[in-house]
């Protein structure tokens, strides 16, 4: 039994520790894997007779598809990473500029008059999905998708569950609104606080994606790691987040909720809200599945950093707007 230590690269997240330890411990002849995230070191005990270099290659093979590499020598990738961030900042900013120009242009101010039918709801959904609502709903989807893809935990399943959760909860809640009629109103303050929470989450995830926290990754206790891993693996989590998007502040969503309220029956409320959610689906699906395919391509580091910049920008916008909406600060801008 010999103990080897290797340098590891690609450990961007807290749960990486557990993932690497699990995968390596499953290998025949490998035991007691220990990952030290702070120093980016992996130590293993092994009965195998391979040389240290061979072992590094062998084990890298097992964790390579998750984005990790073991090496005998410490890889200095500092320069490469710095290069990526310099590309990512203009790319991210360019997307933000395009997004806000689109909002200013007035292209989205299509006049849709009359009563809300499922057909008009669908069109309103299409418009909403590229409107300023994208700042909060889309930004949240992008940040969560990129983060989940980065952690590489069955992302496809999670995204599907998110979209299913969103569609189903819009349909059911729309139906309920139609059924109970004007009995309840969805609280302004509640949605505003939810929106501010969502923008705070976006900013945090964005900073994480850009890699601000990479240098000072805190070694949390295994209990907390396990808790987060459990959440990430839970089938319910993406469903609940999908459900939560119903209450996120978005003028279009709120208008449709009012339309569903006044529609007068369970079926018509259900049809209006699900048509609206279907309309927003193409853009949101593009964001989540797009980030998944980018995350698995060779441009992954650039994508994560650019996405981080975009998400931070949208998060700040949503946060300032949300505070203004609550009357805490004066509106700083007007789109």
């Amino acid at each position: 039994m010999k103990t080897y230590t290797f340098h590891v690269s690609g450990t961007h997240c807290a749960s990486c520790k557990i993932l690497i330890e699990d995968i390596l411990n499953e290998q025949i002849g490998i035991q007691n894997t220990h990952v030290d995230l702070k120093n980016e070191i992996v130590s293993v005990e092994t009965e195998l007779d391979n040389s240290k270099h061979e072992l590094a290659e062998l084990l890298t093979e097992k964790i390579k598809h998750n984005g990790y590499t073991l090496s005998v020598e410490k890889i200095t990738k500092e320069d490469k990473n710095n290069g990526v961030i310099w590309q990512a900042i203009p790319i991210g900013l360019a997307f933000l500029v395009l997004f806000f120009i689109l909002q200013k242009s007035g292209i989205l101010n299509l006049g849709i008059g009359g009563t809300a039918t499922p057909a008009t709801s669908f069109i309103i959904g299409l418009i909403a999905s590229v409107s300023s609502c994208l700042a909060i709903v889309g930004g949240l989807v992008l940040s969560l998708s990129a983060t989940v893809s980065q952690d590489n935990i069955s992302d496809k399943k999670n995204f599907l569950l998110f979209h299913i959760g969103r569609l189903v909860s819009f349909a059911i809640l729309g139906g309920v609104l139609g059924l109970i009629g004007n009995a309840i109103g969805i609280s302004f303050t509640f949605t505003a606080i939810l929106g501010i929470t969502a923008s705070a989450v976006m900013i945090l995830l964005g900073l994480n994606l850009v890699g601000i926290f990479a240098k000072n990754k805190i070694a949390l206790s295994p209990a907390i790691f396990n808790f987060f891993r459990k959440i990430e693996h839970k089938t319910l989590t993406p469903l609940i987040i999908g459900f939560g998007t119903f209450f996120l502040p978005c003028g279009f969503t709120q208008s449709m909720q009012v339309a569903a309220l006044s529609s007068g029956s369970f079926m018509s409320g259900l049809l209006i809200m699900s048509a609206f959610a279907l309309g927003t689906l193409p853009m949101l699906a593009l964001l989540s599945f797009g980030s998944m395919s980018f995350a698995h391509s060779k441009h992954a580091p650039l994508f994560f950093k650019s996405a981080g910049i975009v998400v931070i920008g949208l998060g700040l916008f949503a946060l300032l707007a949300g505070l203004a909406g609550l009357g805490i600060i004066n509106p700083l801008f007007s789109i």
Binding site: W86, N109, G251, S255, G322
Partner: protein, 134 residues
């Protein structure tokens, strides 16, 4: 991409964002100045002042002036409004409502003091309007 080029590009894009956020309100103000001179958005009928605000993709006019010290009502007009401006909040009078998609909503704001500014924002906070009382 080389670092210098990227820094220059970044600065250019930041300026671009600045123009979108700050420059925009200036052009709106100009437009509103024209609007408030050309179109009177407040009328006094039977001793009550009615101020009309159009809500669609923002509030228009964005800045308007009205008379202080008399009973005042706000009329917010929506016309196929599905965006944020349909969810209106006026914090100084604790008013919050999601307006009907098309129609007129009357809000009683009572008499206002001289020099006071009434500010309305949409639920998400990116649209706002001001009424200055003098």
């Amino acid at each position: 991409m080389n670092k210098t080029a990227s820094i220059i590009l970044t600065i250019a894009l930041v300026i671009g964002l600045g123009i979108i956020f700050v420059g925009s309100s200036k052009s709106n103000d100009n437009k509103n100045a024209v609007l408030s001179q050309g179109i009177q958005n407040s009328v006094i009928k039977d001793g009550v002042q009615y101020i009309t605000i159009n809500a669609k993709s923002g509030y228009f006019p964005k800045v308007s002036t009205a008379q202080a010290g008399i009973p005042t009502k706000l009329i917010v007009k929506t016309d196929g409004t599905y965006d944020c401006s349909a969810s209106l909040a006026i914090h100084s009078i604790r008013y919050q409502k999601i307006l009907p998609q098309t129609g007129e909503t009357e809000i009683d704001i009572g008499p206002q003091k001289v020099g006071e500014t009434l500010q309305g924002v949409c639920g998400m906070g990116m649209f706002s309007f001001q009424i200055k009382f003098s």
